[in-house]
Assembly symmetry: D2
Homo-oligomer: 249 residues x 4
């Protein structure tokens, strides 16, 4: 699907305020993700919080098949109107990939309907993302698990609706587990929550993580044959076939 | 579960503005539903849009195990703050039963994350609510289907997340179908969407519909052993057992 | 996916015993389905009950990406060993499309774990297959519904596990509904149950039905990156990384 | 539900052949489970492989609301006819709780439709069963997790259909995770797979594990208002209302 157009969104705050983070992502997390997807043949653009309309104008979204979302420190600074716009696009068929701390973004919470709360600890722990649905396209090319030497821990209970398909289930050195790859369908759009990606660890430089991101983009991209956008209001049916006594007078 | 406390909410607009509706529900839809639940042994209160805080104060919600919701003409008049309060209660374990045109209420849409749009036609059509999960507690005492001689038609596509459990599937005389009994879990709360109940038809006077409402209240009521309310923010783990080398330094 | 290989299986009994059926399907139901899939660019073979091993040798299955199954009168004549062989292939990633009366086939019942019972009536009724998940690839190119002028009625309750995704929901003239397009994943394989197709009606000659069959084949076909076949037995883990104290002594 | 009748089934092989196991379960695993359920107010009987019809006569099953199943070494010795009988009871509404190595029992595999394969290692590892659905009745009274000092490891990928509700998610010291509490509905029956319980560890003596077993029995017990048993064959509809032109000629 080389014609799939991806917009990589990043709040782009930590990278500009913390040297530690800047060392890992000098041009921002979005740059690394965009490069990885570009290499895999996707048409990729980036957008950040600081741009007008956060870089998510109607024009940009109209030309986006899949949007990836990374945010952490500035969830509240995201304009509600833009969140509403993105949500409408997702419900009309745009794919959405929510990364790591994006679990607390306005857009993810508003699509899930829950608090999306979880447990966490920052202690450079080893994480193993176990594949629980090996034939799912999102894990194509991945073995039994992906191992990350150092990760921030996210632990259950993760307050989301039970995933329609759970593809990854994480183990953490310190004693926790987490449903780290969760698939949902909302309206006409497909949503994938993918846990890895703390700003202080080079997670998005990892080959396997990049492979999953590419797989997820392909999975989330709407087919060419998309239905009419869902109308946000009632639709009276046009007159139906009344060629017999069965129909309504 | 005679100690289950139900609050029956109604926007209470049509009944006061339309003689047709007033003939069917002279004291309001809420009065008929409350009586039906009272008879079945539930502690029942009512609340309406016109009351201060729409009758849904923190005190009222704190003493509510299950809230039933009927609205149609005045969804937009429901205060966002009250919607947020109700949502928090649901996520903390309060049951919610959304009735008929309540599919477009702020509270339902915010818990589903979708437009909740559907097709509709008002033509006094016969409806059959077929039971698709006969062992589910919500259909206890119901045969193969419930038949309503006259109903407003709701038709697919109904834009909601696929139900965790679909219990009723409706047939309409004019040629449509609709997923008319849908179960969801959001946070610690259970949600049941039940389609029947247009204001111009005496649907809530129907014995079988009342039976389903009673069953749904029992199903949606939280157990006595509810977990701590989910915190809407990260929770650092307290220090975990470090009695060996396995834990984090 | 022009390289997807489909095997169209048919018990091929009614067509040879009933003139009525032979008029609709002179060369058998499998011939019409195979032609329709061939036209859509799939590599298609057929197999029938009467062939040695029912035409489903290990060689044939090894070269089959998706198997379609039509049976009705002779479910019991299908050899248990062949059923076991097909089941193993499905669990290892072969797609399976079960058609109409195939709901009662040994292979479908053994994958569902339930009786797969349903209600039925043969009365040339009008059927409407309503799309409930319009963005699903199986309904690509289909409008709000497919209408069939004459069909055998299948009615709820359909005793199957709740579908992982319900894509079609049928309305019948006589007053019933039926979940007529149901998606499941079992092991590494994808399964689609599609209701239409009684032998006395020319359903498989219908353009839209053929479109859905083609869509379903694409959907059910395993990716190129299939995981190792699941072993039907325990798998001791090879020694895991023991570079620290975390592992087992 | 003090009137809920439980039959605790055990193959009862290891306890009679291994001193190690006999030390932990001198009267058999079934005795310890039965006592624990008895204490919680259930009417409890036991049955073992060695009894005529494995102790699962039609009379016994007719008086059983919930059956618990523990097997490991002798799955193949369970008579297919008895498995078929148990399966029919489950589909007609009897609850089934499958324990630990019972994942490979004929009854569980035939209800799941998959291989039910998993990874395993016996190394006295610490296990934590994390609660992922804290408001579910099966975890009533359980905190964030149950910790077992020594357990046999079961690891993903666990080849089962995605659970309708996942309630426990296990962490293991050696680096694996496992979906250790899985809810399913098959026919009219509810099924709970619960992972803990290797014969060489005193897991069923654990208070919290016993609490979960009691909760699971209550959850799995059919309501008083059970539907007619599903017929394992087609059911022609009796003549439907023909008072108008809508019906079939």
């Amino acid at each position: 699907m080389t014609d799939t157009r991806v917009t990589v969104w990043n709040e782009f705050v930590h990278e500009r305020e913390s040297e530690v983070v800047a060392d890992v992502y000098p041009d921002g997390i979005h740059a690394v993700i965009a490069d990885a997807l570009e290499e895999r043949g996707f048409e990729t653009e980036t957008a950040t919080l600081q741009e007008p309309e956060h870089g998510l104008t109607e024009e940009v979204l109209a030309e986006t098949d899949v949007l990836t979302w990374w945010g952490h420190a500035a969830h509240d600074e995201v304009d509600d109107e833009i969140v509403e716009r993105v949500k409408e696009e997702v419900l009309n068929g745009m794919g959405l990939i929510v990364l790591h701390s994006g679990h607390f973004s306005k857009i993810f919470k508003s699509l899930m309907g829950t608090t999306c709360a979880l447990k966490w600890r920052e202690a450079a722990e080893r994480e193993r993302l176990w594949v629980v649905e090996p034939s799912h396209p999102i894990v194509a090319g991945i073995d039994d698990y992906i191992e990350l030497e150092e990760a921030e821990m996210y632990g259950e209970r993760f307050d989301v609706p039970q995933p329609e398909t759970l593809v990854f289930n994480s183990w953490f050195e310190g004693g926790e587990v987490f449903r780290s790859g969760c698939c949902y369908r909302r309206g006409n759009g497909k949503i994938f929550y993918f846990r890895p990606g703390h700003e202080t660890y080079p997670v998005y430089h990892n080959e396997e993580i990049q492979q999953v991101l590419g797989n997820a983009v392909e999975w989330a991209a709407a087919g060419d044959d998309q239905p009419e956008p869902v109308q946000g209001n009632h639709e009276p049916l046009e007159e139906i076939d009344t060629s017999d006594d069965r129909t309504v007078h």
